[in-house]
Symmetry: C2
Subunit: 404 residues, 2 copies
Amino acid sequence: MVLPFDILEYHQRIKGTKERMAEKGIDVLLITDPANMNYLSGYDAWSFYVHQMLVVIIDEPQPIWIGRYQDANGARATTWIYEENVIAYPDYYVHSDTYHPMDFIAEILTQIGQGRRSIGVEMDHYYFTGMALERLKKGMPNAQFKDASLLVNRVRMVKSDQEIEYMNRAATIADLAMTRGVESICAGRRECDTAAEIYYQLIKGTPEHGGEYPAIVPLLPTGDHTSIPHLTWSDRPFVDGSPVIVELAGCYKRYHVPLARTVAIGEPSQKLEFLAPVVLEGIQNVLEAAKPGMTCSDLEAIWAKSIKKYGFEKESRLGYSVGLNYPPDWGEHTASIRKGDMTVLQPNMTFHLIPGLWFDYDGIEISETFRVTEKGCERFTTYPQELIVKRESSILLNSSDQIS
Amino acid sequence: MVLPFDILEYHQRIKGTKERMAEKGIDVLLITDPANMNYLSGYDAWSFYVHQMLVVIIDEPQPIWIGRYQDANGARATTWIYEENVIAYPDYYVHSDTYHPMDFIAEILTQIGQGRRSIGVEMDHYYFTGMALERLKKGMPNAQFKDASLLVNRVRMVKSDQEIEYMNRAATIADLAMTRGVESICAGRRECDTAAEIYYQLIKGTPEHGGEYPAIVPLLPTGDHTSIPHLTWSDRPFVDGSPVIVELAGCYKRYHVPLARTVAIGEPSQKLEFLAPVVLEGIQNVLEAAKPGMTCSDLEAIWAKSIKKYGFEKESRLGYSVGLNYPPDWGEHTASIRKGDMTVLQPNMTFHLIPGLWFDYDGIEISETFRVTEKGCERFTTYPQELIVKRESSILLNSSDQIS
């Protein structure tokens, strides 16, 4: 088995996690977020649709993986955890009215002497349900439960050089997928055909590095749906004169580099032509200013000032910390680039800066993922930072079935 | 706006939901499962990575959609809900340490006079977190909370003719994607290249009907990883003499038809050649027997008897109810085809029969999605039901960049 990181890097991550556990008075951390499970153990499989968990005990060197019986081989194949720390529950616990995996887990934890300790749970993370919380509490009546939401996510914020290298590979894939997707957009071709081209490239990756599934599917709102950032594609054809927003992320070893661009099919509207330079100038101003020591709130202020000159305000956040993740989100949920977020930028923090402007009937998105460096910041991708105008007005014959 | 179903079908679904609410003494149902939100309202967007909800009040004709401000246009664009029933929370509630969307929602529900009623929540569904439960309880101290897990899912189990039609379209896409994926598998080509081909076809769909993202990515375990059903692809090349399991689903209007096959690259192992007829006979026996009035447990008994002749037992379940869904699962979590599941088959129930056999170092999966008919059952897909043997032993020159 080849782990994506040196074993020492995993030990370092466990150490950072235990330090935060100690600060919060948590003895036993129950990790159900698949990204956090992966970060600490290497575990990587599409098994988060059933209950599973990584347990970090403050005075034990190795975490414990607990999951479904048929997934235990996955823990053996993808983690650095010793065999005796891989514990499986029988299949009759899966999607059952009677049995719940958290009953099993509570019993195991009690058996190994953790039933009376201070237990941290990821209260507001995906895949940790209200029922999971109640069954754990019922099964460990003498434990003290604490909210450990984002505890591991905060350890994840500053990336190692190896993590940055994986993000660089993801960036190359993002650039290629954006190129392929934009090439395929033209009036008369269907949205799903462009989504297929993007997906093909995202997964194929490069000859050296294959791609992985992104935590969010490519988003492709078009026409008046550009006012709705999270609509996915349809099988309707693109229309001449319409805008299309393409938001995608390259993914490598579960590390994401998102990238968004806005494409005008045919002549861009006057509004788009007016908005694009406003957004581009704002992005430029933020990227030129970002450096260690500034806060996320400072970055927002720079953007707000930049667009205010043109009479705009933006209510929604401007970006967020990004990296390792699983569906349904590639954001890390720690720092947001918005007013009042006092997170201080440090070298090797990574953000997706996505200053979308959405109105009632249209919108624009141009984004960059950047890394904070020692003295400033740098973009991951190289795709041209501009409003893209596709003046071809119809499909080239047969081109929808060609892969260039 | 064109809804995927007639407005009367949505009314029927609401009616079925309210009947079950009444049976359980639930006045107000808080729906956070994206599939259930879609089923009742039409809402379709990749916005389930933030908290959102559909509220069904037993004595109100229309449900209420509550979500993030920038997603409210999505509710207007994809649902039959009137404008005044679309309620948005401000962006500072998103991924915040201070504000939680459930505080906002509890306040809204209290304001509209629901604060002292019996409230059903989907306790064990994805995206309903432990924190969501606690904040709702805190915000509505005079309400009585009840578990409404699977309430709407049970309404979903028997499909309408229109739903079956969408599943037929998904089946066509599944067949095409399996064909394309299997064609691309050969020694020396990378797993990610085959995954890219499969994804391309899944999303492109047919000329008439574009495909959508499946709720689970294509699974492609190979070699000794065929013992691990939920590993995703890597960028390693396929190896001559290895087995590959391909599990995928076509998706149309969020309706899924899954399909799995096992492929031998080069000569199949003796074990695979022995296992394949055992699994195929078992599937055949189940499909020949399945009809209205039987229980899921009856189907399991037929399978168990069929494989026992050859000395096998299978601990994990044999299949599950399938249809409308969002990541991370296409299963409906209601009926499982396993011992003791007393769900009675009815016409237009739909199941994924996936009798995988997994051992320590290998495994086999051959599956069929079927619909219960008036007198028996029928498969959705037409892909040959067999162990697939690919005897070509190496890559055709350049073929990895061709799309046939």
